[in-house]
């Protein structure tokens, strides 16, 4: 009887969260899945019409669409540029900020500012920095005599993707830094000291002691950042896509979430957009799972 009473209390305790999850996560998720099986488009059907059940046609259409796969490829390219850069910079910053020096606390606070700023603000900031006519980057390089004339940094499609990746790294590296810094601080110093006493050089200490002990945190940072970057939207929107007017979607930086936005909110194709959302979920989960598994199998 006593156990039952404890169970009841436990169930009661988790009930509010459970209800919130049901109403705000599972119900919309199921509803979106069902919507993906219809041709719902209020603009086509009008206010009086209704959507029709079309089975998996939206999924078939999306998987057969070159535009969808092109957007997946662009997203993968961004992820491939962002993840290594972000983790290396995050790790380097964490190692520097783990060392004792004067002003460390202030520097730690300053280092997380890009993460604290909304991604949209970061995107607009980078668009001003990279502007070909009055951008700060051109001004700086010109003053340092590194360029003889102003350069249009966002002119080519590949450059647009590259700078999206740079802006995303700038926005997100503090997250990796914070996670890795916390992990660094939890490494027992006696293990590190023992390695040094045994004659290990700093690079050997890092390779044989520090990094293996950081691997679980590294995996977490990598998995989270993979998901965040795969679903990148704000930085692209403010740097190269919609802009302040929000009227034009740039085809060269149309990542999967931008495509999904276009289909749902510009075209109002709710059925197709719901199917795309589920495909993004499946892709994201699948690749994320492979990433995490690979890293754990390597010894995390």
């Amino acid at each position: 009887m006593r156990i039952r009473s404890e169970e009841r209390t436990a169930y009661l305790a988790i009930l509010p969260v459970g209800l919130l999850l049901v109403f705000f996560v599972y119900y919309p998720a199921i509803s979106t899945f069902l919507l993906g099986l219809t041709d719902a488009n209020p603009r086509v059907q009008g206010l009086e019409g209704s959507a029709h059940f079309i089975g998996l046609r939206n999924y078939v259409q999306t998987l057969g669409s070159s535009e969808f796969w092109a957007s997946v490829w662009r997203t993968v390219l961004i992820v491939l540029m962002v993840l290594p850069l972000e983790l290396v910079i995050g790790l380097a910053a964490a190692m520097i900020l783990n060392e004792p020096f004067r002003g460390r606390a202030v520097l730690r606070t300053i280092a997380i500012v890009p993460w604290m700023l909304p991604p949209l603000v970061n995107g607009f900031m980078w668009s001003w920095i990279l502007n070909g006519d009055y951008g700060a980057l051109n001004g700086l390089l010109y003053q340092l005599h590194l360029v003889s004339s102003y350069h249009h940094w966002l002119a080519s499609p590949s450059a647009q993707l590259f700078w999206v990746a740079v802006a995303q790294v700038w926005t997100r590296f503090p997250f990796a830094m914070v996670v890795l810094l916390a992990a660094l601080q939890s490494i027992p110093q006696d293990v590190v000291e023992a390695a040094r006493v045994d004659g290990a050089r700093p690079a050997q200490v890092f390779r044989a002691v520090t990094f293996p002990m950081l691997l679980p945190a590294f995996t977490v940072a990598m998995a989270v950042e993979f998901i965040v970057t795969f679903q990148i939207f704000d930085v692209i929107w403010s740097l190269t896509a919609g802009g302040a007017a929000g009227q034009v979607i740039n085809p060269f930086t149309k990542a999967v979430m931008i495509l999904n936005y276009e289909v749902v909110f510009r075209n109002l194709d709710l059925g197709l957009g719901s199917a795309i959302a589920y495909l993004i979920l499946v892709l994201s989960m699948g690749v994320g799972y492979v990433f995490v598994r690979m890293l754990y199998e390597r010894g995390a």
Binding site: P42, R43, V44, G46, L47, N131, G132, D133, Y134, H152, L154, A155, S156, P157, Q160, T240, G242, G243, A244, A245, G246, Q247, V248, I249, N250, P251, F252, E262, F265, R266, N267, L268
Partner: protein
């Protein structure tokens, strides 16, 4: 004492119940107005005086136009009002009016002599499905302007009369070092529409079939010329490959020719915000002179519960006082003919003669079809891909014609 407390309690409850009903008649009402940033009433004192006089408080929700369309579409699809009053601009005919999200205004217009609807231009554009869906608030032909002083510096005393001439002048302006990027046109749908119409291409026939893709059409040549500006002649700054409009580039001092709008001179010749001031003038569109217009209107949400109050605000919004304030603040030409004439008599409208001449050559594009918005997105995508060398001019035109036919078939099912 107990009895007295009970009496007070009963009285208090009764007052609490009756008070809202008593107060409703004269109580101020609050309505919401969803608008693009440039639709926000610029003269706050004027708005306050309307609120004081009418007892209607107006909450303004300003959003970029694409976000505004999203809000309206999502709310209206759920049969809820995104706002009581909605500013209708650019792609609103396709996104908001055509799906039936606005309230027909015919009966209200007929009853409201104080609106003086006969004084308002282009009401016909906002008459969709035989019903008035919005009241025009400003008229805005898409136009071109140019910096006359800088053009003269290259030895040209008159602006180009054809697109070939404009191309030659632009190359000369670049070579003579007057301007590295003499053309301020975006890699967007509008640039191509403007050049095609101006060259005499109607773009669509009466049955909404694309004629712009006909062999040898002016629109095909216009596409090739536009792409040449970017890729071959390099007379447009590469920054405009990603920007939505060319206006800030031109105001920043880059460009001699500029894709502008009716009323742009009030902005471009304002030395506080434009480096082109005071030398900017309109030109009549080259070749066949045609353009289209992006007049804006203001309408009521079909799902608003406060349509009467919204209508009062709407009438005030299109009043001569507010239209004058808008013109003074942002140079948008009022839809009221009487006010246009008054402003011209005061010498307040720059370039009125060219504007009046250009108004004879307006060819409306079918912006009220439901698929206009998705289609224009595909036009911009094709132009951007072609400007990067991923498509030829003809392939871009063929791609957008194909997309038009696909969307037309989808929406007409």
């Amino acid at each position: 004492m107990k009895v007295r407390y009970r009496t007070i309690l009963v009285l208090a409850l009764a007052i609490a119940l009756v008070w809202p009903a008593l107060g409703r008649g004269g109580a101020p009402q609050t309505i919401t107005f969803l608008t693009a940033p440039w639709g926000v009433p610029p003269d706050q004192a004027l708005l306050k005086s309307f609120e004081a006089r009418s007892g209607i408080t107006v909450q303004i929700i300003s959003a970029p136009s694409a976000e505004m369309y999203t809000k309206v579409q999502v709310a209206s699809a759920g049969r809820r009002a995104p706002a009581d009053v909605i500013f209708l601009t650019e792609e609103a005919p396709s996104f908001i009016v055509a799906p039936g999200y606005t309230e027909p205004l015919d009966a209200r217009v007929a009853k409201s002599a104080d609106l003086n609807a006969g004084d308002i231009e282009r009401m016909d554009f906002w008459t969709v499905g035989g019903k008035i869906q919005g009241i025009t608030t400003y008229v805005q032909m898409v136009m071109m302007d140019y910096n006359a002083k800088r053009l003269r510096a290259a030895g040209f005393n008159t602006p180009a009369a054809t697109w070939d001439e404009l191309r030659r002048q632009s190359v000369a302006l670049k070579q003579k070092g007057v301007d590295q990027y003499p053309v301020a046109f975006g890699a967007i749908d509008w640039s191509w529409f403007l050049m095609s119409l101006s060259a005499g291409d109607p773009m669509f026939d009466g049955s909404l079939n694309p004629v712009f893709s006909n062999s040898g059409s002016p629109a095909r040549k216009a596409m090739a010329t536009l792409l040449g500006f970017f890729a071959t002649d390099k007379v447009i700054t590469p920054d405009l490959l990603t920007k939505v409009t060319p206006h800030d580039v031109f105001m920043g001092g880059t460009g001699v020719y500029h894709q502008a709008w009716q009323g742009s001179l009030a902005v471009m010749n304002n030395a506080k915000i434009s480096k082109q001031a005071p030398d900017v003038q309109y030109l009549l569109m080259p070749e066949r002179h045609f353009t289209w217009s992006l007049d804006a209107a203001i309408g009521l949400s079909r799902f608003s519960g406060k349509k009467d109050a919204g209508w009062e605000f709407l009438k005030w919004y299109v009043s001569p006082e507010n239209q004058r304030a808008i013109y003074t603040a942002v140079g948008l030409v009022p839809s009221r003919k009487s006010l246009q004439q008054a402003l011209n008599a005061e010498g307040a409208i720059q370039g009125f003669d060219i504007m009046a001449e250009q108004a004879k050559y307006v060819h409306q594009l079918p912006r009220t079809v439901k698929w206009w918005g998705p289609w224009t997105q595909s036009v911009t995508e094709a132009i951007r891909k072609a400007a990067q060398g991923q498509l030829t001019a003809d392939a871009a035109v063929d791609a957008v014609a194909k997309r038009w036919n696909e969307l037309k078939a989808q929406y007409k099912q």
